[in-house]
């Protein structure tokens, strides 16, 4: 079942189309990557899903029903990219306050805050003020306040920025754990290696439009260039390579770490490459397909797009 369905969502500011007819669906319990360069319209899209902005056109369905900002926002947890907490307020009080704003009773909020503070080893922070915390500590607190009310949909905008590897792993493990428990996570970031590692499904937004939608594996398959890496028992000589180039099935495009990188020609299969080497009597130690990284795909799709779209007119 889809927890969120966005249909032809559109938002226009004075002279700029921030979000241009974007549609996607989110399966319950999935981890969804929302990608795009700066100024692509990701934050505007998120703000419409969290009820901060009203869309100009289009429809949002939350758990199969039209999105009702008054009630549905209580089941959404949002951690914006620009972190925000009351600097002068004590951390414990702040966690309770934000959880109560999300509809928890004070006793329930207190119980959950204690559980999360123990889990993240933050018990000693309870009476400290936010201004006394480091950036990473503030980040952990922000994450806790986002998920304390056990939301069905969690939106995390750059959740790992400012965190050391240990705390990054801690948050990552929690994201997996929340997804296992049935929460759906929208994860917005520029760090592609994290998206590859964490997300099941991605969409790429550029200039307010969706330009890519699919599973991480599916997207990589879509953009593959038929490149394979072959490890051989005996390093090939120049003469061998000339013979290899004469083959119709593939071309040698480079060498990496003592292995050959070959590109399979259109209409041929990997089996053709393997047969060629077997027929030559070469011992094959490895044969791996080289898939493009999301980073490469992102750059390929987005490169050449102006970073700031303020000059784009309606």
């Amino acid at each position: 079942m889809n927890i969120l369905e966005v249909k032809d969502l559109q938002k226009t500011f004075a002279t700029q189309i921030a979000v241009d007819k974007i549609s996607f669906q989110l399966e319950k319990g999935s981890i969804f990557g929302l990608l795009g360069p700066n100024g692509a319209g990701k934050t505007t899209l998120i703000r419409m899903i969290t009820g901060i902005f009203y869309p100009d056109a289009g429809e949002i369905l939350f758990e199969g029903k039209p999105f009702d900002p008054m009630n549905d926002i209580l089941r959404i947890g949002y951690m914006p990219e620009e972190r925000g907490l009351y600097k002068k307020m004590k951390i414990g009080e702040q966690a309770l306050y934000l959880a109560q704003l999300k509809g928890l009773s004070r006793s329930e909020a207190l119980q959950r805050a204690k559980e999360w503070f123990v889990k993240f080893e933050m018990q000693s922070w309870w009476n400290k003020k936010v201004e006394d915390l480091s950036k990473g500590m503030g980040q952990k607190l922000q994450f806790v306040t986002t998920v304390m009310h056990a939301p069905r949909l969690i939106i995390l905008d750059e959740p790992f920025s400012g965190l050391d590897p240990v705390n990054s792993n801690l948050i990552k493990d929690e994201i997996y754990s929340l997804a296992r428990k049935g929460a759906t996570i929208i994860f917005s970031t520029h760090r592609m290696e994290q998206v590859e590692e964490i997300c099941d499904h991605i969409i790429l937004v550029n200039r307010g439009q969706k330009i890519l939608d699919g599973s991480v594996g599916g997207v990589k398959q879509q953009f593959k260039e038929n490149l394979f890496r072959i490890g051989l028992e005996r390093p090939l000589t120049g003469e061998d390579l000339k013979t290899a180039d004469a083959s119709d099935a593939f071309t040698v495009v480079g060498r990496a770490d003592g292995q050959l990188v070959v590109k399979i020609a259109e209409g041929h299969r990997p089996n053709d490459v393997l047969s060629w080497f077997i027929q030559k009597g070469e011992g094959i130690t490895s044969f791996v397909e080289i898939l493009p990284s999301l980073n490469d795909i992102f750059i390929r799709l987005v490169e050449g797009t102006p970073l700031a779209r303020q000059f784009q007119r309606l």
């Binding site: 009820g51 949002y78 620009e82 925000g84 600097k87 002068k88 306050y97 934000l98």
Partner: protein
């Protein structure tokens, strides 16, 4: 749910501000500052005594006999004094009185090197008017100057006291005190409206700069956030006002306990004398007017 959220925001706004050190300091120091300010201004008013010596160039010839000098204003009628040399002779101003025909209003002038305050200016004007009245009474009636002065001093025998008759039981009203309290309250309300209005604005700014606005607005409606902020900060203002009233009442009781009874009695007497003085002035003016009327 909606009211509950407004209440939560109100509570946070109220508690964070009331627990703030600035709030405690301003609440407890403000009455002290006000008391010190009043005491200071009274002290300055009683201790600083400005004396003005005014040269008089009189074309009528009779002001010398009627303009009365005292410790605050004194008059110099030396011969040969004029607008050029009055300062050299130690005067701070020169009063030029042209001939005053009885059937017309004539302008007389004051040129000064040292400006007279509003009170001294009023005082001078009264003295000139009194001198004219005295001169007319003396000239047009058979009353001698000694008789005139004696009548003046003897006529200070009545003092007015007002009573508020709106309640079942008539009670003494103190219009000056009521006026002063009203004036102070108006200034306080004006100031507090500005101060607490600015505080609401600063609160909104704080949320924008702390970037928490986005987190909060993803949980509540902007209307609820603003309403909670206004009611919370308004409640802080009312608390402060209430504390000031309690403090001022408490301090005034404390002050009464520390003032010896003899000093209190002296103050009462001074107040009564002041009231008598005002009444005396009123009698003198009406008496003068009657005399002039009789003359005509």
């Amino acid at each position: 749910m909606s009211n509950n959220k407004i209440w939560l925001i109100t509570r946070r706004e109220y508690l964070t501000r009331v627990r703030n050190r600035t709030f405690l300091l301003s609440t407890f120091l403000f009455p002290l500052v006000i008391i010190l300010f009043i005491a200071g201004s009274v002290m300055i008013a009683t201790q600083t005594h400005t004396h003005h010596k005014i040269a008089v160039v009189d074309a009528n010839g009779y002001f010398k006999d009627y303009l009365r000098s005292d410790s605050s204003l004194s008059f110099d009628f030396s011969p040969g004094i004029d607008t050029l040399n009055y300062a050299d002779r130690g005067n701070t101003a020169v009063l030029i009185i042209p001939p005053l025909p009885e059937d017309n209003v004539t302008i007389y002038r004051l040129k000064f090197k040292k400006q007279l305050g509003p009170a001294a200016k009023d005082d001078l004007e009264n003295r000139v008017n009194n001198a004219i009245t005295d001169h007319l009474i003396y000239e047009k009636t058979s009353v001698s100057r000694i008789q005139l002065d004696t009548l003046r001093s003897r006529s200070k025998i009545a003092a007015l006291r007002t009573f508020d008759d709106n309640d079942k039981k008539a009670r003494a009203s103190n219009q000056n005190a009521a006026g002063a309290i009203g004036y102070v309250c108006a200034i306080l309300i004006y100031m507090l409206t500005f101060i607490y209005g600015a505080m609401v604005m600063r609160g909104v700014m704080e949320e924008k700069t702390n970037r928490i606005a986005e987190v909060v607005v993803s949980s509540v409606k902007p209307f609820q956030l603003m309403m909670g902020k206004i009611t919370g900060i308004g409640a802080v203002g009312l608390t402060q006002f209430l504390l000031w009233i309690v403090l001022l009442v408490g301090l005034s009781f404390l002050a009464q306990a520390f003032i010896p009874p003899s000093v209190g009695k002296e103050i009462m007497q001074l107040q009564q004398a002041n009231a008598m003085g005002n009444a005396g002035n009123a009698i003198r003016v009406s008496e003068g007017a009657n005399k002039i009327y009789e003359c005509r």
